[in-house]
Amino acid sequence: MSKKRLNLLPVWAAISAVIIIAGIVLMALLGFNEALDRPESKTFDVYYNVVVDLSEDRKSELATYCEDAFADAGISFTDKQTLEGQTDPVSTGQGSFSSTGNDFLLRYTFSADVSDESLAAAKAAVEASIAGNEGFALPAETYVSFDTISLQPMNEAMWRGAVAVAVAAVVALIYIAIRFGMGCALTGLVACVNDAFLTLSVFAIARIPVYAFAPMLYAAIAAAVSAVYWLIRCMKLRDDAKDPTAGVLSADEAVANACAATDKLVWLAAGILLAVVAVCAACTAMTGATFIFAGALIAVAAGLYSSMLLAPALHVKVKAHFDRMKKKNARYEGKKKSAKADAEA
């Protein structure tokens, strides 16, 4: 397996290319599935004021009226919040808000495809329920409305994040070039870029719901993890190159040896990372944070794919090319030296 995977560069490259191209097309056409940020939604608001002594029972009755009305209208909400009214922003000169203590808003959020007719029917039903309940002494102190919401994109963070990941990957790989050679840096750069794009593509293709800020976070994790995995391979390649017998090995033998020796460590590192992120996702399963951790699993796994398959197969070609260049240079240097020696003689 170890040697076979090194000869399948076209296969790994094709897999990556297909996923990445499909991902880029989908990113350009549809973007990411930012459903967690609710870019388009509808909200159903029930305002109430407790000045007329709206007891806790009445508050829960309001919620029951709403939820019964939604059930009757055949619609279901994605989020429910009770918001507390704050002092009007134009009324005081203070820096922070303070609670009025009187005003509350029961807000239900629906997906954008819920029809206005259904919401209107629910509104009518809730208003009728409130009017029919003597407990609500002043019907004017409750108010029902619904709105269509459209989130405005703030793209600066997205493109700055993309530039940041690209610059960081290039600079990190310049360091790798200095320490391990240009061949290792080139393969590492391809692996980092591949993993960052692969991660983003998986999110775009599978329409995995993400927060708007998250894709670049995952791309950064994928690039960092990919660089670390590849560094482990580079260290072994450099150690092997110091061996006097290394010169007789072909590029594919050298890479195969390095991979065989480091596979265990790469799997171990990836396993630990995956386990840690999975534990975080599991522990926060009851909260919204779990989506962020679950997404990070894909970034860590993408790094493992290229480290195991794409990068070693690519490095065989890159190393063979650099080895040839090295030999050519060595011959040229040798000829120059012998010519110089002849001239001196």
Partner: protein
């Protein structure tokens, strides 16, 4: 290292860890009626509003739970249906009929707003195209302002195509200021005079000129806890300012800075001012200075025809991820910590203590940095970055231990094994940490908001991990091993058994 010296150093090391542990994690109340509170560093560390825990050093548990504030900006000619109903309440039937004749419910009979005829809608109830254009422009300006605040979690939403709902997480000292002043629309105007009523315009733009021909940029600057708004004038602007303040030495002149018709700040000038840059501090913090500078900066492209916005309907929202998220993160860390220590104690026996001390020192260093570095806070992203750095430290320590184990197996003494083991893995671990730190700090330098803080934590974690694994771990190993008579047993290292031929 001698045994006595080892014991003394170990005691000091342990005390240091214990003190750091106490400072970082223990909170308690004391004094009569529990009047005073000792807050741990973890408690004082600022937390993301999405997490749902009290924010800031002075926030007691239960003061408020993360979250944030929203408000709705109503453009001129748009009122909420609730306000419409309230307005009708105190009117006679005739007044009600007159009032109702001026408004149309939008978008239909169930709409949540009313549009004023001739201002926002035509007589037939359709929205005026001029209103749509002005609303679109105002929405863009407001979005630009909130984006430039660079606050993680800030949102701007268009509601029914005729209102703007804004949200700021409870992570600022003055959300109210930002929400209220960002509703100001129109162009930047500066007047001067002895009082506001008689003040005259500082600039007299000719045809085709705007305020941008006089003011090049408005930025914010900070020096410690004080913030400044910096006005950068063009040569024309500088001339106008110099002319306006030429007699200020004799009679003080006040400069009034407006956005549209709203006065944002005034500045008393007591001497002639002939420079391109004007710094205004007042009582600004870096945060409020940034807010005001953002407002002025976006107002450079404003016009007299901009839609007037009125902020209203402010509400407090609970934390996005739920109220127990911080607790869940602590549990996740606990699971990781137990698993990590179980591995190290099982594989390396008492050498696990060396890793434990190293890891705790790393942990407390990260906590202290998270508390003391102003822009750092605990969030899901920073926690994730911290966990990745933790994995890096664990793997590095394990690699160092394994290198020494291999050397010991060959028959070397423990001291020689540790020395040779570290020598063999030093540059590998160094490279690993440098690469991760470079990625972390570079992403921090370029990215914004949550990715920026997470990247900084990753970079910082990699730097601390490098120091911890290459220096602290080795020191701890030397100290603890000095207390043991059988170093091989202490570390669970075994010699390779060679059969006699």
């Amino acid at each position: 290292m001698g045994k006595k010296k080892s014991v003394v150093l170990l005691v000091i090391y342990t005390l240091l860890i214990a003190v750091l542990c106490f400072i970082c994690t223990v909170s308690f109340s004391y004094g009569t009626d529990q009047l005073y509170t000792f807050s741990s560093v973890m408690r004082m560390m600022e937390k993301d509003a999405d997490l749902g825990l009290a924010y800031g050093a002075n926030a007691d548990a239960g003061a408020y739970l993360g979250g944030g504030y929203s408000a709705v900006y109503y453009p001129e000619g748009v009122i909420s249906a609730r306000e419409y109903a309230d307005n009708l309440d105190g009117m006679t039937d005739e007044e009600q009929a007159d009032y109702a004749a001026n408004y149309v419910r939008y978008p239909d009979e169930n709409g949540s707003v009313y549009l004023e005829k001739g201002v926002a809608c035509n007589e037939d109830g359709t929205v005026m195209s001029s209103f749509e254009e002005a609303f679109s422009s105002a929405l863009e300006t407001v979005t630009q302002r909130f984006a430039r605040l660079r606050v993680d979690g800030a949102r701007v939403e268009a509601v029914d195509g005729c209102m703007i709902r804004v949200f700021l997480p409870a992570m600022m000292d003055s959300e109210y200021t930002a929400i209220s002043v960002f509703a100001y629309t129109g162009e930047l105007r500066i007047t001067y005079g002895s009082d506001e009523a008689s003040a005259t315009a500082l600039f007299t733009p000719r045809a085709g000129e705007t305020v941008a021909d006089y003011v090049e940029a408005v930025n914010s600057r900070a020096s410690g806890e004080t913030g400044y708004v910096e006005f950068v004038f063009t040569d024309k602007g500088r001339e106008a300012l110099a002319s306006a303040t030429s007699g200020a030495a004799e009679t003080a002149v006040t400069l009034y800075f407006y956005v549209g018709d709203s006065l944002v700040l005034n500045l008393s000038v007591n001497e002639a001012y002939d420079q391109n840059t004007l710094y205004i501090s007042g009582s600004y913090t870096p945060e409020t200075a940034n807010t005001v500078a953002t407002l002025f900066s976006t107002a450079l492209s404003g016009t007299e025809d901009d839609l007037t916005l009125t902020p209203s309907d402010a509400y407090f929202h609970h934390a996005l991820y739920g109220e127990n998220t911080v607790l869940m993160l602590y549990i996740a860390f606990g699971v990781f910590f137990v698993a990590m220590m179980a591995f190290f104690f099982i594989r390396y026996h008492r050498l696990g203590f060396v890793h434990l001390y190293t890891y705790l020192l790393f942990l407390f260093a990260m906590i202290l940095c998270g508390w003391s570095i102003p822009f750092l806070y605990l969030s899901v992203e920073t926690f994730l970055a911290f966990m990745l750095a933790s994995v890096l430290l664990c793997v590095s320590d394990a690699v160092a231990f394994e290198c020494a184990r291999k050397e010991f197996a060959l028959g070397k003494t423990m001291t020689s094994s540790v020395k040779t083991g570290y020598k063999k893995c030093f540059w590998k671990l160094f490279d690993l940490h440098i690469v991760v730190a470079v990625i972390g700090f570079l992403v921090y330098a370029i990215a914004l908001t949550s990715l920026q803080t997470a990247a900084f934590v990753l970079g910082l974690g990699a730097a601390f991990s490098g120091i911890a694994t290459l220096l602290v771990n080795r020191f701890g190993w030397a100290v603890m091993m000095g207390t043991s008579k059988k170093p091989g047993k202490f570390c669970n290292f075994k010699r390779e058994e060679v059969e006699d031929e």
